[in-house]
Symmetry: C2
Subunit: 474 residues, 2 copies
């Protein structure tokens, strides 16, 4: 494979119009990197189509000329899925000009959006129509719906509302051949043949490009309350989650947990973050309750839960937010937790899941193994306890050499992922596979599973042009 | 293709042991039919394997010898999916000996069951452990988990808990080649490659046989209340649903509707069914509320909802159940509604869905078209309003000839399905495609979609042995 020739670049550019075909190094630069600096790719061309038909024409030409195409949304991914390969053979297709909300229907409770619609815009459109679109992520201000779907995004509201797969009713997809699949159905029930929709969701742009989606809306809750509660151990955090889950059922709309270290870094480095409690504790939880009827019922439910939890000895100390400002403050602290590790030097990150009940055992085993491998490592575990999803992040020991520490990424991943697998867990709970975990996936899964995925890839993308080398090795 | 030879029958029988290989006509009889009498197949062999390994050995031999295999669960399907073809070429593989609950884990809130576990047994195991497994169907006493998954079963609790796809975390599947895919994961979040699980779910046994599943459990609600409310029109029923949905959110665990005709037949023909209201009304709704905290809150919520609805002029009259007995009575009436049509002669049935907001328009258009085609036809529409799912059933005119009426099944389907499609609906909301709607599916879907399904079928089942001619035409 070679870099696309000038003549081919011209043919691609013609499809979108010259102003929307970037070829200057300075214009292309933002498409070559990702947030954590793990990958830096190369490309000679970034295309910004303005319609599904243009996406189709691009992919048709790409299939004919065997030109690899990397789809780009908000480029907020953590696994290198949107970065073109270093060889410079790939062109980038960005959905940023396709950001429209096509339709909102409050009687059917659906919103239809372009693949390039920004998540925050979809949330706002729902809010403006007295509805809730629940997907909620730190990067929601730039992440796009097509990328959220392609990575089956999770975030903080999965506990009550499910991940992106559960929030999607229908899709419009341009296949690698340029053919358009119109699956933009708004149906809650539709048992008519194989589930193509869920194949595209989570395929990380390797089976086609999602150009439109029908998403579910929910009634806007009338009551909302958040508490911050300190607990003595992961076991107590789990017990507290189970109590909250039994007591509040679907009104429990978030249950996050965080190790003291992660919390301390955030209080230290995030503007406006503060410790709402008067003493220090080893673990913290953030409990989010939404009720359909009234604010009073959310307040009562939270109050009753914390009283029962204190009485049962599950909680050391707790505060309930006294205003929307305090709710925002608590969630802001949680949402900036990953970012707050940066000033502390290098970090090695994991996005893993285990069955919810296995979280304490996983944490104890992983902490011991990591501290044995790197004495002084500062473990900033946090995440979505109710989903069994742990962002098991490790900051370098104080004063250690950053480059030396980060060079041990693979070694530490191997140690942590082995413990994850021994608990029946997943090495990628919500971030996906991309390039980062591609080879590891092939190692840990039975050959039949990887083989089936390769066969599926082959029938959707016979020319092998769609985001090659991501998820599966070419 | 020919009927399997005696020598081949012997090889298959050896795998399961002679007592579990049925070859006598009387033993085989129950496997040849389905509830509605639409199909009657033929076979020379019914195999009852006792383990996943035996299922694997059967499919391996079937692939090698190109012997078609029809998987059978509780055989309660409505589309002929479990009936062997008339030519007698197919053997039947019944999961009835694989009915174990393998494990129940109340801390992880999962239950792991064999593919042949009966739905009611899974519900009971959950209840016995103070949990809820919400899938709820008229045929739950005989339907099996493998079949529920293969048809992505729906039922009356989909509104709050989702269909079978939403209730499943992991699968064990024997592929048509005999290879075993162990995807028995208990994870709420797992973004590691293509979604094979959801391909098998809803594939109606054409891509492999589901031998085991990890299913989600939920906290058992502490409050439960049911009301029966008469409304003047489908429009009022929809407004009432929207009010209930906004007021109760996820506490609204069921919202069924039924035309007067369907209700009258049930009162007339179902043991123990009675009209709880003192006057007659054109439409009825059944509202089911479950609350996590207390019975009082369910009672209060229902009371407040009906008061508001009466005041808004949405409801003509209503009763709230005064005991568990009355709750059971109301649901029994609803669950036997399809059966109650039988004494009234022939019926032509539809299992369709439209966007929830389109239900009134669909009903008006369909009623007019059906009555124009068959004056005097008695329309027994009912279903899951909250899911947009209508069982649009039509009983013959009084005194008409049954055979003549039922012979118009295809003609009436065509009329009704055209109206469904004009509202962006689905011709199979929850029953699936099977044989009944196979050719129609190919007609109504874009060629690219059918083509992708055929390509998927080909890579999973290269020998073409798995439930052939169902969903897709061979």
């Amino acid at each position: 494979m070679t870099t696309p020739a000038p003549e081919l670049i011209a043919r691609f550019s013609e499809i979108v119009g010259t102003p929307h075909a970037l070829t200057e190094a300075a214009d292309i630069e933002p498409y070559l990197t990702e947030n954590r600096g793990l990958y830096r790719g190369k490309t000679v061309l970034v295309l910004k189509p303005g319609s599904t038909q243009e996406v189709s024409a691009i992919l048709k030409l790409a299939s004919e000329t065997k030109t690899p195409v990397v789809p780009a949304g908000g480029r907020t991914g953590h696994v290198g899925g949107h970065v073109p390969r270093e060889a410079g053979t790939d062109i980038v297709l960005s959905l940023e000009r396709m950001g429209k909300i096509r339709k909102i229907d409050t009687s059917a409770n659906v919103i239809i959006a372009d693949g390039g619609a920004i998540l925050a815009d979809v949330q706002k459109a729902a809010r403006d129509n007295d509805r809730l679109f629940p997907l909620s992520l730190g990067s929601e201000g730039s992440a796009m719906i097509g990328g959220n779907l392609s990575t089956n995004a999770g975030g903080t509201a999965v506990l009550a509302y499910g991940n992106m797969r559960a929030l999607c009713l229908g899709l419009e997809v341009v296949l690698p051949t340029g053919e358009i699949w119109n699956g933009l159905r708004s149906l809650k029930k539709d048992n008519t043949g194989y589930d193509l929709r869920d194949l595209f969701i989570g395929a990380e742009g390797t089976l086609g490009i999602i150009t439109g989606a029908v998403l579910k809306l929910f009634p806007k809750p009338r009551g909302h309350q958040v508490a911050f509660a300190a607990v003595a151990s992961p076991e107590k955090a789990l017990d507290l989650f189970n109590m909250a889950s039994n007591r509040c059922a679907s009104a429990l709309t978030g249950f996050e947990f965080m190790a003291r270290m992660a919390f301390d870094f955030t209080v230290k480095h995030t503007d406006g973050a503060r410790d709402p409690l008067s003493a220090k504790y080893p673990w913290y939880t953030l409990i989010d309750i939404s009720t359909s009827d009234s604010q009073q019922s959310a307040d009562n439910m939270m109050q009753a839960l914390l009283e029962e939890a204190l009485e049962a000895g599950l909680v050391e100390d707790a505060v309930i937010a006294k205003s929307q400002g305090e709710i925002d403050e608590l969630w802001h602290m949680r949402n900036t937790m990953s970012e707050a590790q940066k000033p502390e030097g290098g970090s090695i990150k994991h996005d893993v899941s285990v069955p919810v009940s296995a979280i304490p055992a996983f944490l104890h085993a992983a902490d011991a193994a990591v501290l044995e491998a790197i004495p002084g490592a500062r473990i900033c575990a946090f995440g979505h306890l109710g989903d069994g999803n742990i962002h098991y992040n490790i900051s370098q020991p104080e004063g250690a050499d950053k480059a030396e520490f980060v060079a041990r990424w693979g070694e530490i991943n191997t140690i942590v992922h082995a413990i994850v697998l021994s608990h029946g867990g997943s090495i990628s709970a919500e971030h996906g596979i991309g390039r980062l975990k591609r080879d590891e996936l092939a190692d840990i899964r039975e050959p039949i599973e990887i083989d089936l995925m390769h066969r599926i890839k082959q029938i959707f993308d016979p020319a092998g042009i769609m985001n090659p080398d991501k998820v599966l090795k070419v």
